[in-house]
Symmetry: C2
């Protein structure tokens, strides 16, 4: 099967991969263009600035990043299992060498500027995770689904940061803590 990616597609995919593995601030335009096999001139014909590339690559690959933590659309799971599935996936991911934390958190941290376009995009995807928790916490009959959704999101981010800092698997810590939050969410 031949895949003929356009320069734009190659740039966005390479940006998503390199920025995730090495950092949006650390990877310069020079290196990005070389890795994507696109000239700097072509890049600047497609995007005004590197900042725009950061934002666009998150927009392009954010949906699949988030969806990878959710059960497939056909999955027949009760709400509690739907929530725990996210943490089971995180436990799996956090144990692999290719795990560098949450790309949305990383982007926000690296940019140091909530007004940056890409920081806004990152927040949109983080809110999508929280909405997912909210939806299923509500279905579960949680007394305060807003609180539960926020707590699960903080747990997700704190656990991802832990795995990055320690460079070791979570050993069930995230899954166990999520289960504890859900145990106390319902009266």
């Amino acid at each position: 099967m031949t895949s003929i990616a356009t320069p734009r597609e190659r740039l966005l995919r390479t940006a998503a991969e390199l920025f995730y593995a090495e950092g949006a601030a650390a990877v310069g335009v020079e290196r990005l263009c070389k890795a994507a096999g696109v000239s700097k001139r072509s890049m600047y014909q497609l995007f005004t600035t590197k900042d725009e590339v950061i934002a666009e690559s998150l927009r392009a690959f954010g949906p699949s990043t988030v969806a990878a933590y959710f059960p497939g659309p056909a999955a027949d799971m009760p709400p509690r299992e739907r929530i725990l599935h996210v943490f089971a996936r995180l436990e799996e991911q956090a144990g692999t060498p290719s795990f560098h934390g949450c790309p949305f958190v990383n982007t926000a941290v690296e940019l140091h500027d909530p007004a940056h376009e890409a920081a806004g995009v990152a927040l949109t995807f983080k809110k999508r995770l929280e909405s997912y928790f909210h939806e299923h916490a509500t279905a579960l009959g949680a007394t305060d689904p807003d609180l539960v959704a926020a707590q699960l999101t903080m747990l997700f981010d704190g656990a991802a940061v832990r795995a990055v800092m320690r460079a070791e698997p979570l050993g069930g810590l995230a899954l166990r803590t999520a289960a504890g939050i859900l145990d106390h969410a319902v009266p």
Copy 2:
């Protein structure tokens, strides 16, 4: 009162401030030296690489960063209040424009390399926070102080990330969640 800081002191203080506000990867040697009023030549006489400056500035200012979340040594507080004090301070900090999250988390995220010297230094200070939680969870009579300490640390990091991404105060969410963890920690 005149303070005559050495070039080394000026570099480390400026590095700690700039790296925290703008990012260790984003701030180049050029800008760092200019802001510190030190020539690049002098910098490279004092430090082998920028990486060494990152590690040394964390080593120099890490202790006061951590201590700022703890009650003063003279404080007469029961263990539960000692733990909650950390989250009360985080709630205060997270509401200010100068808050950019946890500098240890930021450094680890920005470097994308757990083998980097500064990532090791960052982890040391993060473990100091977790040890503090462990000590007081034990004093509180927690059934599983290891678990409680890890959960409180994940909450701290997840809450700091939340405040950074949303660029808004936590509104009591971190403090309330910490209190909930402690409520269930003791039989």
